[in-house]
């Protein structure tokens, strides 16, 4: 019997125009500024207004396994946003903390999503994903539905969706131009 997949951090993931870099405490200011943005932050779990809490959170993240938190960068190393893979449950994972800067290229959302799913499904060997989407975040819900995610229920705050590797393979065909080659993973 094979054991369930686990979430491992990676130093770097390289895509077509983007790279993911493992978060360090040096990123606290960048993450804090994104999360405190009133427009972007309203769809996220509440962020402490004290940056020291952000630093502590990242220190804890660095010292613990079970999640991978990345800075999304362009090819020049300019930070464009964040993305996180967490909450492994059997062969399913969750992702979130997905925030993109306003001036990120229009292709960033799709390429970063494809890179994240590629890492989770093809490298970490998950088969499914479970997603919590804020009920008031219509654009993100539509995005996940276009990816192929399906509604499975709700909580007071969130709509719950699921996704699987078969839907990802379908999505890869529809969006091949954003990530035509496999991602490169540096552990």
């Amino acid at each position: 019997m094979s054991s369930n997949p686990k979430i491992f951090k990676a130093q770097k993931l390289k895509g077509k125009t983007l790279a993911f870099r493992d978060v360090t405490v040096d990123d606290a200011n960048f993450i804090f500024s994104l999360r405190m943005d009133s427009k972007k932050g309203r769809h996220l779990s509440q962020t402490s207004p004290d940056i020291r809490d952000q630093i502590t959170w990242i220190e804890n993240y660095t010292n613990n396994d079970g999640e991978a938190y990345f800075i999304i960068e362009n090819s020049e190393g300019l930070a464009l946003g964040t993305i996180r893979i967490y909450d492994a449950q059997g062969d399913s994972f969750c992702w979130g903390s997905w925030i993109l800067k306003d001036n990120a290229p229009i292709s960033t959302a799709i390429e970063s999503t494809l890179m994240m799913y590629s890492y989770a499904f093809e490298h970490l060997k998950f088969k499914k994903a479970h997603l919590d989407i804020r009920k008031d975040h219509h654009q993100v819900r539509k995005f996940h539905e276009f990816c192929g995610a399906w509604y499975v229920g709700e909580t007071e705050l969130n709509d719950l969706y699921e996704y699987n590797i078969e839907k990802f393979i379908e999505l890869q065909k529809q969006t091949n131009m954003y990530l035509p080659e496999s991602i490169v993973v540096e552990r």
């Binding site: 993109l100 799709i110 999505l171 969006t175 131009m177």
Partner: protein, 82 residues
């Protein structure tokens, strides 16, 4: 050629972006519509790929289009519309 008209392409983009019929013209640009942001672009792409029977996903230039006109030009270059 799949016999799909320019107007079919524009209608498909409108539906994907949940815009009113007639909201888009050939001259419309992504940055003019709140819905046509980095999230909305996936809907446009998936809808066009379905309209053209899986042929759009293979066109590398589609990753860079930011207007209706640019989409129509790329589709024409690939002989998907007249």
């Amino acid at each position: 050629m799949l016999n799909i008209l320019q107007s079919d392409v524009i209608s498909t983009i409108e539906v994907a972006l949940e815009l009113q019929p007639g909201a888009l013209t050939k001259e419309s640009r992504a940055d003019e519509f709140e819905q046509w942001d980095s999230l909305g672009v996936l809907g446009v792409l998936v809808a066009l790929d379905k309209l053209f029977d899986g042929k759009v996903g293979k066109i590398s230039e589609m990753a860079a289009v930011e207007s209706v006109e640019e989409i129509l030009i790329v589709l024409r270059q690939h002989s998907l519309i007249d």
